[in-house]
Amino acid sequence: MDGFGVSLAFWVLAAITLVAAAGVMVSRNLLHAVLFLILTFVGVAGFFVLLSADFIAMAQVIIYVGAIAVLVLFAVLLTPRASRDNGETRWALPGMLLAVCLAAIFLFVIHDTAWKTRDGVPQGLSASDLGTALLTTWVVPFEIASVLLTAALVGAIMLTRSPEEEAEDALA
């Protein structure tokens, strides 16, 4: 996975992702922000493909673009006056300052740490050994994560149960 084509692809993808991320911040319309967010997810998936970790790239697209983005869209549907122009808020200036400080910290950290770079072509992570790793060495965190997710799912359903559904169940 090296050569001219790959590095060209990397820079194009990097540009798209950064522009989309900026778009999420800058856009005045909530829906545009969400669409830019989806574009960033796809960009990140592109990076995984470049690292030839194709299972994770596909998982990224399915989970983030397929499920989480759709849920965010649902949330957008329910926020009143979602597509009004919410540009001129009093928090613009402090927000900008905070962003600059954070950017400075990140740049410093990135510059300062000594990244362990591996030479040669990064060998791909095939799905089968990912599966065996998940279910042999990392089985405990995997199970805990799934339990946590189901708890969250049940909690969400309990939260949004409307009064009449509760009344209905009380009767049954």
Partner: protein, 417 residues
């Protein structure tokens, strides 16, 4: 994978992959460094699009669907334009192109313009991973099944964009419905395909085709329930008739497509059928054993067998569209969460136990047929038991009214008139 084909010569039409490889090798000697990749992608795209997507999708799909549904409704269907009406899709396309594409005043112009593009792009991307023959596949990536699921998530977002941006109450209804349906039908779809993956052991489509050929059995016999769930979920994702609530003509005029006209609408309409064909191509590869037909593919070219199976599956979509009425939105959600999801989980349970047993017998060839029979019986039993557990009794109410001789007042149900 045992070599199927007798000869690998470039003139062997049974597998056009050899032809393209010969072309690429010749070009590689001549052209500089990485350009061959671009050429390979180009050939792949042109070949797949021109040879398979365009004829099977536009001509057979649009024309075939309208003709077959016409015959179902005892009318002829398009037969005026060109011989037997074959040029009808092209006539439609030209008509739509020269039609004016309106954009409502308060509509979100940019998002409304991009929506059809986002809707069309995945339709062509889907064909990249589907194997038409031994090495006739553009991108034979090891995760092609997941690639298919990933790419089929994009049209949901495109339809939402179309629905939300056209600033019309009916479109908002359509957008709300498509989003809620996509979420509830995504999980049973993945579970159904997981059943197939567990049984065949790979998540690459060509791997599944090889498995089907190696054990000379189609996945549909081993996994009947998975195919049924897949069919229902895919017709939900694609808005096909028993589940086409996103653009339900009789309720919300045309759902998210209300404000679209001209070629923008044309793109949505054409690619709807494109997705249906891609989904049936995918089902043909996973469940009906792709381009292999128990050894017949040595004589008949593989990709012809594959197109036959795709249109066999596509006929199912046309058939349901021609006959079934439409379910209500909340009934659909309940059906997905309360019926399809648990069935998917049970199916997965059964399949993984069978896989364990099969592994102990180190994948004996005969055992798979036993599993097939067991699975068919189990599936029917499972569906019936879960429906009864869910409190569903088959409708025993009378389908004929009571007949009365004398005119009079109200006659309660029990009483004889």
């Amino acid at each position: 994978m045992t070599p199927f084909l007798v000869s690998d010569k470039w003139y062997d039409i049974r597998d056009l992959g050899n032809l393209s490889r010969a072309l690429l090798d010749a070009a590689d000697k001549v052209l500089p460094g990485g350009v061959v990749y671009v050429l390979a992608a180009l050939i792949g795209f042109v070949a797949s699009f021109l040879l398979f997507v365009l004829p099977s999708q536009l001509i057979i799909g649009v024309y075939g669907e309208r003709r077959i549904i016409g015959r179902m409704q005892s009318r002829l269907g398009p037969n005026r334009v060109g011989p037997f009406g074959l040029l009808q899709p092209i006539a439609d396309a030209i008509k739509l192109i020269q039609k004016e594409a309106l954009t409502p005043a308060q509509a979100d112009r940019v998002v409304m313009y991009i929506a059809p593009i986002i809707f069309v792009m995945p339709a062509v991307l889907l064909w990249a991973v589907i194997p038409f023959g031994e090495n006739m596949v553009i991108a034979d990536i090891p995760v092609s099944l997941m690639y298919f699921l990933a790419v089929s998530a994009l049209p949901v977002i495109a339809t939402f964009m179309a629905g939300w941006s056209s600033n019309n109450k009916y479109s908002l209804f359509g957008a709300m419905r498509i989003v809620s349906m996509a979420i509830s039908y995504e999980s049973p779809l993945v579970l159904a395909l997981l059943g197939a993956v567990v049984m065949s052991g790979t998540i690459s489509l060509s791997g599944m085709v090889a498995w089907a050929d190696q054990y000379t059995i189609w996945m549909v016999f081993v996994q009947p329930l998975a195919l049924v769930i897949y069919f229902i979920c895919v017709s939900a994702e694609l808005n096909r008739t028993p589940v086409d609530i996103a653009e339900a003509e009789s309720e919300i005029v045309a759902g998210y497509l209300t404000e679209y006209s001209g070629m923008k609408w044309g793109l949505f309409y054409g690619m709807d059928i494109g997705y249906a064909l891609a989904a049936s191509g995918f089902a043909a590869t996973v469940f009906l054993g792709g381009w292999t037909l128990f050894g017949l593919e040595k004589w008949v070219p593989g990709w012809m067998i594959f197109i036959g199976k795709t249109h066999l599956f596509y006929f199912l979509f046309i058939w349901t569209r021609g006959t079934l009425p439409r379910l209500r939105a909340d009934q659909l959600m309940a059906f997905a969460w309360k019926f399809l999801l648990p069935l998917g989980v049970f199916n997965l349970l059964i399949v993984s136990t069978e896989r364990m047993l099969w592994a102990e017998q180190d994948y004996a060839k005969g055992l798979i047929y036993v599993f097939a029979l067991v699975n068919i019986v189990l599936s029917v039993g499972l569906v019936y038991a879960w429906a009864r557990f869910n409190g569903y009794r088959p409708e025993r109410s009378p389908t004929r009214p009571r007949l009365v001789k004398q005119a009079g007042g109200y006659i309660p149900v029990g009483e004889r008139p």
